[in-house]
Amino acid sequence: MVEVVVRRPARIFQAAGWPGERAALDAALGAWLGDPPPELGWARSRGSRTGMALAPGRWLLLAETPALPPDTPPLLVTDLSAARVVLRLTGPDLEPLLRKGVGFDPDARAFPPGRVAQTLIHHMPVLLHRIDAPSADLLVPSSWAQALRDWFDDAAAGSP
């Protein structure tokens, strides 16, 4: 059994920059997040804000309540607030369900709370954020939101 709850964070920003300004990037991200930015492949949350390090020089910033973007320069910011839908999956069968679609091992030892991973689920690009043992957030482009929900309904019907 896994429960799916859909939401749209108030703001989603992609922030990017170059290695020559690493210190300034970290400062700008830190100022927005309220904590030092996370390492590659990890998320860090503070209050209603979350930062995720997706790739070298590229971060995704989420705010559940309205927020301004971080400072430009040194960051280059792209507004993706309308471009992603978040599916929160919760339940004891989270891992068996994820194993029906993700391209990496979702076991809590390999994908612990705080970890983020990008993969394809049935051809759809999805970003996963492990919240705790039984729950994870899945971010999917808006045009695929319905298709991803349909996929989960169908996959869950096949039992673990």
Binding site: L54, A55, P56, G57, G103, T119, L120
Partner: protein, 97 residues
């Protein structure tokens, strides 16, 4: 075939897009040497064994990678990150070791 992405770990080739032969040297932008351009655009060796090639992790972090793959058995012998951050990541990795 699994490709070990430096950012995301080993993933199925289904998450990647092939980017072509990485041994090619793109002639300088203002070059008009037709042979150099034809070689760059068309001429490809087809070795059995180690092949240097480009892959993009399009279904994951979207990084570009330079990979050495054994074309006879799909063994991935080496993977390097490309792009502006490649050097910084490599320096950090070396420092950590």
């Amino acid at each position: 075939m699994l490709i070990p992405c430096p950012c995301c770990g080993p993933r199925s080739v289904a998450e990647f897009t092939y980017g072509g032969d990485a041994t090619l040297v793109r002639p300088p932008a203002d070059s008009t040497d037709p042979d150099a351009w034809c070689r760059y655009v068309y001429a490809r060796a087809n070795p059995k064994g180690a092949h240097l090639e480009l892959w993009q992790h399009s279904g994951g972090c979207r990084c570009w990678l330079r990979v050495v793959r054994d074309t006879a058995n799909h063994t991935i012998m080496r993977v390097e990150l490309l792009g502006p951050w490649a050097e910084a990541i490599e320096r950090k990795r070396v420092a950590a070791e």
